[in-house]
């Protein structure tokens, strides 16, 4: 993939956000908050960082992106379509019968989707498995995993985090979307996570943090993570859930609710003006 300038990356992220709104409005259900919040990071990953070839989605040399929090899939689908994995027009089939865009990702349905997810906590173990395979094969590619902060309620994640440290998986980068919300409320109310930094550090990981909407910061932090040689790296990405749509920002009730036609139009207007 050719790498894009920051201005071009911002434009891609804006288009991805518009896609997300259009897809969810049409589907009538789905999860806007996390998807909108991660659009900047996805744009940077797919248009600047990842070594991948959309017309060769199974190339053994590719970097892998494992989406562990499957309900974020609108941002994955929109980014994959924008990157050329499948026609943009297909985005409007999200969650409909006979669509390749399942409500939660299915690796066998759509090119570019590396894993099936939905039940939280499962992607990170698969990312660890892929990273272990990379080590056995002495391969050069890297494994990126996307998890959410509230996903860390699941015990399986911590099992995987221990294993990544044990095997010193320096080909594994876990990006945690720290947006402080989950379905039923704020993460601090539902299940306090306390310091993810301290937790990861005590589990033997290198911890980096970034502002998930500042492009210079995103690019520099991910590059630093890629170059770290001693073991697995976690990037705590501080994001605003619903970013880019004023009435959705920081509101947990938009975690799992699609906009209606009127709300979608208002959101699209805001996004178009922001370009």
């Amino acid at each position: 993939m050719p790498t894009l300038s920051i201005a071009e990356l911002k434009k891609q992220a804006n288009l991805i956000r518009q896609d997300i709104i259009l897809m969810l409005e049409r589907a009538g259900s789905g999860h806007p908050s996390g998807a909108l919040g991660m659009a900047d990071i996805f744009a940077v990953l797919y248009f600047q960082i990842l070594n991948h070839t959309p017309h060769k989605p199974n190339s053994p040399l590719r970097d892998r992106l494992i989406l562990s929090c499957g309900h974020y899939c609108p941002v994955l689908y929109a980014t994959l379509a924008r990157a050329g994995y499948f026609p943009l027009v297909e985005l409007k089939t999200l969650r409909q019968i006979n669509s390749r865009l399942q409500g939660h990702p299915h690796n066998l349905s759509l090119p570019g989707v590396e894993n099936s997810s939905g039940p939280l906590g499962q992607g990170i173990s698969q990312a660890v498995g892929m990273a272990l395979a990379g080590k056995i094969d002495q391969a050069k590619h890297q494994i990126f995993c996307i998890t959410s902060d509230a996903e860390h309620n699941e015990g399986q994640l911590w099992e995987a985090i221990m294993t990544a440290n044990k095997y010193q998986l320096n080909n594994l980068i876990n990006i945690v979307d720290c947006n402080n919300i989950q379905i039923d409320g704020k993460t601090t109310d539902i299940m306090p996570l306390l310091s993810l930094r301290k937790k990861y550090e005590s589990f033997g990981w290198k911890v980096l943090e970034m502002n998930g909407h500042n492009y210079g910061n995103i690019i520099a932090t991910i590059k630093q993570a890629k170059n770290y040689q001693k073991g697995p790296v976690v990037i705590l990405a501080h994001t605003i859930p619903g970013k880019g749509v004023s009435f959705m920002e920081n509101k947990y009730d938009w975690h799992g609710k699609a906009p209606n036609k009127e709300q979608a139009e208002k959101a699209l207007q805001e996004l178009r003006q922001a370009v």
Partner: protein, 312 residues
Amino acid sequence: MPKENKNKSTRDGFGDALLALAKKDKNIVVVSADLAESTRVWKFAKKYPARFIEVGVAEQNMLGIAAGLALADKIPIATSFAVFSPGRNWDQLRISVCYSKANVKIIGSHTGLGAGEDGASHQALEDIAITRCLPNLVVLAPADYNEAQKALAVAIKHQGPIYLRLTRQNTPIFTSAKSIFKIGQANILQKGQDVTLIACGALVYDALQVAKKLATQNISVEVINCHTIKPLDKKTILASVKKTKKVVTLEDHQIHGGLGSAVAELLAENYPVPVKIMGVNDTFGESGTPEKLYKKYGLDQEHIIKNIKEII
């Protein structure tokens, strides 16, 4: 019938076959959850340390890691006791493995009352029920040491997830090392006319012994070794039942959801005849030797004979 050998377990058959197969196929990797000795992968671990991944007591993570390895073109063998895997990680089995058609071989040892002295917590009596309902998953329950070896070899050749149900206890080796093992193809071990006795796992040996005993009383039992529970060999079972018109099924598993249920589903739709499902009758087990447990819970040869006499 081939001559009986000394007793060995199906987990030993698996472990010995694994060593031989791993030499030829470098893609085979083992993922272990702190039971390497009990699941008989410790020899592999010593010989191939770079292909042995020890995740500790964490079966959910074990299966997820296995799925990730499979998606990266390895052939992962994920081993634990069946009460933990697939017992504890069923969600991971469903989504990370089966939905993705990840080429993982799930090895569940210590199944049934045969797990013995460890007691109810460690006796997997539900594993067939929770695996045979999953799309894309093949479910195998080999009858003895030889068959376990063949089952692993076939499982590794098969592209897709397989659950291999193994036993702790040593049991007679009675199948031939040369006989053909094919997924989905049940073996008729003895032909008969009066009743079809369909069994899986270690109890197949008892089924054969019972058939021999009843032959002396002029009761002719057809014995089917149904080592593949899914996909079920409909053809062989229906052909036999159309002849005998009576069925007894036998498994070291709950009567709900296991081999007997699979056979009953097939017959209810295609050829309804009287069926007696022999298994553990909706109760947990307890500590004891396999022999004493089978007697107490109605799975010994005496009970099999009683059930056959009642149905014919």
